[in-house]
């Protein structure tokens, strides 16, 4: 494991100081990629087979390729209804998290007042214990509030669960906005609220997008809370739909594979576009 010395900034290869190990790097990276996506690819490809094909040869390729499973799922009104419900709930949750999170984090980052650190600790307390532990009394409370079987029964608790991490990520970001900008705004006669609106919000868009994405994905994937509070099948979200489908049509393996594939697609697409943003946004929170 020696490194060659021909790595000095004489050419564009200077950006790759350890070129010696490229083949090894690729081999390892390929191995990692294979482990993470082979099962997923198998599920997606398996959706193009028929159940008898799968039973006869579980590890084979589709022969011939059949579109029928996917067509069946996509023509089911259930699937679209569940996608719609997931979308509404995830968007509502995201909006609530960003709105409440930014305003609280703004105060915690840019106001000096008695009890500020206490208030911050109060929110970070939520990181210290599993919010899931409160799910049973939460259900009872939502029942008493007559919110069971409504979008709110999922959105409000999700917003609450997501607030601690949101505030932890946003606060350093908002605090990093230079003091001079605030002073300049003050000289121009802008109050702090105006400063928040006109300067902080535009400047902190990357951080807001990060917390927004985290909230959206958490909501899109959530299972336990919807399972308990959405008894009404017409309100079911996609994860509940996947679970129902797989327990309802246990012998229809190909159908389950197709339904599962379609359910994972939005998350995959969404994440593909947002990956850079998430890693970037977390840098502030995990600063070394």
């Amino acid at each position: 494991m020696t490194m060659t010395a021909n790595t000095m900034p004489s050419s564009s290869t200077a950006r790759r100081p350890f070129a010696w190990s490229s083949p090894l790097t690729y081999a390892l990276a390929l191995a990692v990629a294979a482990v993470s996506i082979t099962p997923v690819v198998y599920v997606i490809v398996g959706g193009f087979r028929t159940t008898p094909q799968i039973v006869a040869d579980p590890a084979g390729l589709p022969d011939p390729w059949v579109w029928d499973n996917y067509r069946r799922v996509l023509t089911q009104s259930n699937f679209w209804e569940q996608t719609f419900n997931s979308g509404v709930i995830a968007l509502g949750t995201t909006l609530g998290v960003v709105l409440l999170g930014v305003s609280a984090a703004f105060v915690l980052a840019r106001y000096t007042f008695r009890g500020r650190e206490a208030l911050f600790t109060f929110f970070t307390l939520g990181l210290l214990f599993p919010a899931g532990a409160a799910i049973l009394p939460l259900y009872l409370m939502l029942r008493d509030l007559n919110l069971i079987n409504s979008y709110y029964a999922v959105m409000l608790p999700q917003i609450a669960f997501q607030l601690p991490i949101t505030i932890v990520i946003l606060r350093p970001f908002l605090a990093a906005i230079p003091r001079e900008l605030e002073d300049a705004a003050a000289i121009d006669g802008t109050g702090r609220i105006g400063f928040l609106w006109r300067i902080v919000l535009p400047l902190s868009r990357p951080a807001m997008v990060t917390v927004g994405i985290l909230a959206f994905v958490a909501s899109w994937n959530a299972f336990l809370l919807p399972l308990l509070v959405l008894g009404d099948a017409s309100l079911h979200t996609l994860p509940l739909g996947v679970q129902n489908f797989s327990s309802q049509y246990t012998s229809d393996t190909a159908g389950i594979l197709a339904f599962t594939s379609l359910a994972m697609l939005p998350a995959l697409l969404f994440f593909t576009f947002a990956e850079k943003q998430i890693v970037g946004g977390l840098q502030g929170a995990v600063k070394g």
Partner: protein, 332 residues
């Protein structure tokens, strides 16, 4: 209120250096300004505080209250039994199995995911063509919904499933197992699935941490003749310390409340025998589905207390410096 707060700093922010004490002027203008500041603080934080208190903290309090009753969830609880529910839980072998399973998941996750994620993150932090694509692929399992992942592995690992067929094809037919139905191995199968799913989260955090490690340090070390491994060992790893500890913390809390994947992969019969139950599945099985609300809430409180104590210990001994850094948010 202001009289006790000499550092009251109207234009203050967390980035401001500890402001010197300003002479407290008491002009009417200043008082109006102070009042307005408090209106803003209250106005901006109240919605978050209300939602957080109402949907996170208040239910936690109710869990404790309900846990003291024998209660089927109809009408107000009246049959006060004190701590009987707690005693019952610790006498139930299935709950003890659930505790053991949670311990396996907590330690198994830390011991397996940590080193693996560190290796992969160091690998994916190197500059090579196609790095972005490989990063995306490594994150795929983490993005997928727990339920999707669970159903997927349930199909792959079923008795006549692909994984066993794959083993047969390799001539390893002797290794074929009922991965999710064998009471002795199901928890290890689940640990494998959880590892596959969550190692990506550790990788994301570590990559974010790595991007904060100044490139110049590595380059300087390389110029001084340090090998790649020496550079990682002596420069990168120590700088990653805080990120690793934050990940350990989040992983621990997550492992204690794991529910979704266990719920959809393991057969209810296997779960109810304790082979794959966790505290969370046990809580939902008993509290929600069997409608033993008092008992279920006692389990919830136990889960809460265990997590909270673990979190406090962890924070006390390992995390304190990091949290202070992250929390006070001294901007770079």
């Amino acid at each position: 209120m202001t009289s006790t707060n000499p550092t009251l700093d109207l234009a203050g922010g967390a980035t401001a250096p500890p402001a010197g004490r300003r002479p407290a002027r008491r002009s009417p203008h200043r008082a109006a300004e102070t009042r307005r500041k408090w209106y803003e603080i209250i106005g901006l934080t109240t919605p978050a505080v209300i939602v957080y208190v109402m949907f996170v903290l208040v239910p936690m309090g109710f869990a404790f209250y309900y846990s003291l009753f024998r209660w089927r969830g109809v009408g107000p609880p009246t049959d006060f039994v004190g701590f009987d529910n707690y005693v019952l839980a610790f006498q139930d072998p299935i709950f003890l199995d659930a505790l053991r399973n949670n311990a396996i998941i907590v330690f198994g996750s830390l011991l397996i995911q940590g080193p693996v994620a560190l290796g992969v993150a160091l690998l994916l932090n190197r500059k090579f063509r196609g790095r972005t694509l490989f990063r995306l692929l490594a994150f795929v399992p983490y993005v997928l919904a727990e339920v999707t992942v669970g159903i997927m592995w349930k199909l792959l690992l079923s008795d006549a499933g692909t994984f066993n067929a794959f083993l047969e094809a390799l001539g390893l037919g002797g290794l074929v197992q009922a991965w999710l139905a064998d009471l002795d191995i199901v928890i290890w199968t689940l640990l494998f699935i959880l590892t596959w799913k969550y190692v990506g989260f550790a990788i994301i955090l570590l990559l974010a941490g790595l991007s904060n490690v100044p490139q110049e340090l590595n380059e300087a070390a390389a110029i001084d003749g340090a090998s790649w491994w020496q550079t990682q060992r002596h420069i990168t790893l120590p700088l990653l310390g805080p990120t690793i500890r934050i990940w350990m913390f989040l992983s621990m809390i997550g492992s204690l409340q794991v529910f979704d994947i266990i719920w959809v992969t393991s057969v209810p019969a296997v779960r109810s025998l304790g082979a794959s139950a966790t505290m969370a599945t046990y809580m939902v099985d008993n509290g929600f589905f069997a409608r033993l609300w008092g008992y279920g809430n006692a389990v919830a409180v136990i889960l809460f207390v265990i997590s909270f104590v673990a979190a406090l210990l962890f924070q006390r001994f390992l995390l304190r410096r990091d949290i202070q850094g992250a929390v006070t948010g001294r901007a770079k």
